[in-house]
């Protein structure tokens, strides 16, 4: 069934690294759009892990692609809503920097 060459572990390590880069980007960036992109990177890392598990673990054969497709659909919905919200706040504040969204801080 395995259409991917090699072993499961390297794919998981790559996925973990992508996820870590995405998390770091989310925490370090201050631009709302960059943060949104970092989240997309994290979700793609998850997709890679799902496909690798699906390809290498016999009992999950064929489920990986289905899982990944659903995650892609959810990520698309999330990105749509997220961009709409960022555009709405940009119209109000004229800045994409989240540091400056601090009206309610007490």
């Amino acid at each position: 069934m395995s259409q991917i060459a090699g072993h499961l572990e390297p794919y998981l390590v790559l996925s973990g690294m992508l996820f870590a880069i995405g998390s770091f980007g989310f925490l370090a960036r201050r631009n709302a759009i960059s943060m949104l992109m970092s989240i997309e990177l994290m979700l793609n890392a998850v997709n890679l892990a799902a496909l690798a598990f699906g390809a290498f673990i016999p009992s999950l054969a064929g489920q990986g692609a289905a899982f990944a497709l659903l995650i892609i659909a959810v990520a698309a919905a999330e990105a749509t809503v997220g961009l709409a919200i960022v555009i709405a706040i940009f119209r109000n504040r004229k800045t994409p920097l989240v540091d400056e969204y601090d009206t309610m801080r007490q």
Partner: protein, 479 residues
């Protein structure tokens, strides 16, 4: 195939209802009450279908969606939450020139997510249900799109919400890979047969962090106060109960069902999180002068009480889940009621919700103030209201579970005493202070009054007759 459609009928009805709301708005635009009427009709039809399915255990979608009493309970609770929100929101939104059609449709989509979450028996369906429930929440938080506070709350809610979804999802995928199955009960079986490894530890850590964000447990609660304060008040009411109840359904399914064999590992973490959540939520709520923000922090404290039930359930005390579900129902009615009261005070655009705005309201609007007092007493946990029995059930379950849960029960009782101070302070302002000088304009209207009344009836009925509900819950769990 036919059977599948019958089993999925409640879910399909909600989605078709949401589309019907949007179509009705296209046919007759700018009619504020038509979309709400269509949505309420869809809610009624869904409720009937759910009650009809209450006794069955039919499954659909290859076994990943199972109808039955548990879904019926979650679905009916979700329907009540959405219905009350739809009754209290139109007057508030109309005064600020925001439409009601999008609100009605978005709430119905979120309800579809909640039903899917309740019916899910595998990780994939569970995650899709969760996202279907929370993504409409981001839209709703930013509903007042010309209001800087609303969009600011929405952006924070969205960014931290989707960040936590990604963390939770990574944990779910690793758990799925390690256990070798997506089925929740299958995972429990696989874990019980002892396949502990590093992957499992990663999965558990990621799932715990992601879930803690979703339920707004300390220290993952930072988005909550801003998202709640910024949103339009009726929507804050919905956000503080709807997604929270859904997140606890997720916790029951992930931790109490799938990760039950690992309870010894996650219970200590959950105990610390619950203790911190209750204590910090209550202490910060004490210092708030804005009632809306105070209720936001108090909702964090209620998350802590609900987690007490999860810990008890994890320790093998079946009454824990019943306690969580009863608490969720009680909390939904009393908290939504409190926000309905705040909505009534904000009939005029720009009206604030400072404590001083409430002064002397008991003299000018005694009926409204008495309703507010009922909700606040219930949130405090004073008998014979719903809040009292809700706290009793979770704390009792924790005591019976023993071990670390007992300590948590003590902390919960101490916290209830702290909480009494800030809830009762609002009642003191309502009844024992001189009226505020520019008198607060209280909005009245048949729909708002109906919403308040339903919330009040729920709060009082669950308090006066808790036994039938708790028995129904226990029966639902037994199946």
């Amino acid at each position: 195939m036919n059977n599948d459609l019958l089993t999925l009928a409640p879910l399909i009805t909600v989605v078709v209802g949401a589309i019907a709301v949007l179509v009705s708005d296209m046919i007759t635009p700018n009619r504020n009450h038509a979309p709400v009427a269509v949505a309420l009709a869809a809610l009624g039809a869904t409720a009937a279908l759910l009650i009809n399915q209450g006794g069955s255990s039919a499954s659909a979608l290859g076994g990943s969606y199972v109808a039955g009493p548990f879904v019926a309970f979650i679905g009916l609770l979700g329907i009540s939450i959405v219905a009350i929100t739809l009754l209290i929101a139109p007057a508030y939104l109309a005064a600020r020139k925001y439409p009601t059609a999008e609100l009605s449709a978005t709430l119905l989509f979120a309800l579809a997510g909640a039903i899917l979450l309740g019916a899910a028996t595998d990780l994939v369906t569970l995650f899709v249900g969760l996202e279907l429930m929370v993504i409409p929440g981001y839209v709703l938080a930013g509903y007042a799109k010309r209001d800087p506070l609303s969009t600011e709350g929405a952006v924070k809610y969205f960014l931290l919400g989707s960040f936590s979804s990604a963390i939770l999802l990574f944990g779910i995928v690793v758990l799925w890979g390690v256990a070798g199955t997506a089925s929740l009960s299958g995972i429990a079986t696989a874990l019980a047969s002892g396949k502990a490894n590093a992957g499992l530890a990663v999965a558990l850590a990621l799932i715990t962090t992601g879930s803690a964000f979703k339920i707004a447990a300390v220290p993952f609660h930072y988005w909550t106060p801003d998202a709640y304060q910024g949103s339009p008040t009726p929507i804050t009411g919905y956000l503080s109960v709807g997604p929270k109840v859904g997140a606890f359904v997720l916790l029951i399914k992930l931790f109490v069902i799938a990760l039950a064999p690992l309870a010894a590992l996650w219970i200590p973490v959950m105990v610390v999180l619950a203790a911190a959540t209750m204590t910090l939520g209550n202490l910060v709520a004490l210092t708030q002068s804005n009632v809306k923000r105070m209720l936001a922090y108090s909702s964090i404290a209620h998350t802590g009480y609900l987690m007490v039930g999860i810990v008890a359930a994890g320790a093998g005390e079946a009454a824990g889940i019943a306690g969580v579900l009863f608490y969720a129902a009680a909390y939904a009615f009393m908290n939504l009621g409190a926000f309905a009261f705040l909505t009534a005070l904000q009939g005029r655009p720009g009206a604030t919700t400072q404590l001083s705005d409430l002064a002397g309201l008991g003299r000018k609007h005694p009926r409204m103030a008495i309703l507010a007092a009922i909700f606040l007493l219930s949130l405090t946990g004073i008998p014979p209201t719903a809040g009292f029995f809700a706290k009793t059930y979770v704390i009792l379950a924790a005591v019976q579970a023993g071990g670390p849960a007992t300590i948590l029960a003590v902390i919960a009782v101490l916290n209830a005493a702290i909480a009494a101070f800030y809830y009762l302070r609002v009642i003191v302002y309502l009844f024992m202070r001189d009226p505020a000088e520019p008198a607060v304009q209280v909005a009245e209207g048949p729909m708002l009054r109906a919403g308040l009344l339903i919330a009040a009836i729920g709060t009082v009925a669950l308090g006066l007759a808790p036994t039938p509900i708790i028995e129904a819950v226990i029966q639902a769990l037994a199946k």
